[in-house]
């Protein structure tokens, strides 16, 4: 007969099997959640939970969806893409999980934490700020005497250009224009060093203290100061206060 038609007379109910499956699924889920509260298991929780989740998935697909005792073609069209999907998740996760990742954890996470705490009013106002090593006048003199900003420009390319653009013109929603005469947090070299040291809580600007050396922070700050007045093409509009030379 037409395989699309169901033969009621020869059908035997699976309801007991389904009930048993539902009970097992519930137990696995309960155990999964309970495991979170067993501290000694923490190192093996991720692989353990992965196995449990795959087991649950296999039970739903195998029992509720009857893929196990159905036609081969169904397994082909469903399991092949599912395998690819898991492979994709695995590869992306491997790149990102903290143990394997060149990026994971690190300063991005800390910056997120701090900006969130700040936004939610969880931080005391006077968070320990890093102070620039020299006085305002010393930095201005340093800038006046500087002939070459090559080292600072290199740091800029590696750390700052991603948000402020390679030529310093700024990016919408990210870093402001560094080549105009406007500053959000002060235009003296001292202000710039302080901004790079501490970052701006709640904004994309993170603290670079410890990410690069203090010397590099000074070099890049002097380079940023040297950009003022270049007014590159297509730069972001003025933000903050205009400063005189």
């Amino acid at each position: 007969m037409n395989p699309a038609l169901h033969d009621v007379a020869s059908y035997h109910t699976h309801s007991k099997l389904y009930t048993r499956t539902a009970v097992i699924l519930s137990i696995i889920t309960a155990v999964e959640i309970a495991l979170l509260y067993v501290p000694p298991l923490k190192p093996i929780l991720v692989p353990l939970m992965t196995v449990m989740a795959i087991q649950k998935l296999a039970m739903v697909v195998g029992t509720f969806m009857h893929l196990g005792d159905d036609k081969n073609v169904f397994r082909l069209v469903f399991l092949a893409p599912m395998l690819m999907a898991f492979l994709m998740i695995y590869v992306m996760t491997l790149l990102v999980m903290p143990h394997f990742s060149p990026y994971g954890g690190g300063y991005v996470r800390l910056a997120a934490q701090r900006s969130y705490d700040e936004r939610m009013g969880l931080l005391p106002a006077a968070a320990a700020a890093h102070k620039p090593a020299r006085s305002v006048e010393e930095y201005e003199k340093l800038f006046a005497d500087a002939k070459d900003h090559g080292a600072g420009e290199k740091v800029w390319g590696e750390r700052c250009a991603a948000c402020h653009r390679a030529d310093g013109g700024g990016m919408a929603g990210l870093g402001p224009n560094m080549t105009d005469d406007c500053y959000l947090h002060g235009g003296k070299v001292h202000n710039i060093v302080s901004t790079v040291l501490n970052g701006i809580p709640g904004k994309a600007m993170v603290s670079f203290k410890g990410q690069i050396t203090d010397e590099q922070i000074e070099q890049v700050s002097l380079y940023v100061r040297s950009l003022r007045g270049k007014n590159v093409a297509d730069g972001k509009a003025c933000e903050g206060e205009k400063v005189g030379n």
Binding site: P3, T21, L36, L45, M65, T93, Y103, A111, A112
Partner: protein
């Protein structure tokens, strides 16, 4: 769905196109249920609707696989908070997860009842499944509202906000579509438009529903539980 269900009436007698190729199958002379090429794939000997559903679900694997992989790729790369561990509530999500898991059970019972020609039970189980789905979506609406209003997490706040809302939002949308679909199937059974011989229509809707459940099994473990297991 309904178009295929109605094929019952339209093709009940138009049976001549049925005879080529696989008479060997037809030992019982159930010719009064002929459905022609609309419902049977003559080459693979499987119902077209089921083949279509499994193929569609295969593509859905890649769809949700991409969303989940993207979530993980951008995890820990947000430059403004809140972080996942600060907004997730395992207690609340566990309840909604359990409700969705149980809806898979009632769905399986609905297909079973349909195949056993117990139409009343099939309708009841379909409605129960839809109710469980509605409860799940309600939990999600509450969760989104809580994140958005109290935790200040919007779609555009951070990479976490974007990837999280996109992934779980698409899943919630799938559940919503499933709820509407199951209620339609229950209505068609009620009107007598789906007979037990055509249980494959209910079964296919069930496959979709179970798939939505397994996506949540993965999301719940990988996204929610891992956040506290790392």
């Amino acid at each position: 769905m309904s178009a295929i269900a109605h094929a019952d009436d339209g093709h009940g007698h138009g049976h001549d196109d049925h005879g080529h190729g696989h008479d060997g199958h037809d030992g019982h002379g159930h010719d009064d249920h002929g459905h022609g090429d609309l419902v049977e794939n003559n080459y693979m000997k499987v119902p077209n609707i089921k083949l279509a559903m499994w193929t569609f679900l295969g593509s859905e694997c890649m769809f949700f696989g991409s969303l989940i992989a993207t979530y993980f790729f951008y995890l820990d790369k947000s430059i403004s908070g809140p972080l996942p561990a600060e907004v997730f509530s395992i207690e609340i999500t566990s309840i909604s997860t359990f409700v969705l898991l149980m809806s898979s059970y009632t769905m399986a019972l609905a297909v079973d009842a349909m195949k056993s020609a117990k139409l009343g039970k099939a309708k009841l189980m379909l409605v129960l499944t839809a109710i469980c789905g509605t409860i799940f979506v309600s939990f999600q609406v509450y969760e989104f509202w809580h994140f958005f209003v109290e935790k200040k997490l919007a779609l555009q706040t951070s990479l976490f906000g974007s990837t999280f809302y996109t992934m779980t939002g698409f899943h919630g949308a799938h559940v919503t579509v499933g709820v509407i679909w199951l209620l339609m199937v229950a209505g068609l059974i009620h009107k007598g438009n789906i007979k037990p011989q055509r249980a494959v229509v209910v079964e296919s809707a069930g496959l979709y529903w179970h798939f939505v459940d397994i996506v949540w099994i993965i999301i719940f473990t990988f996204v929610y539980l891992f956040e506290f297991a790392k």
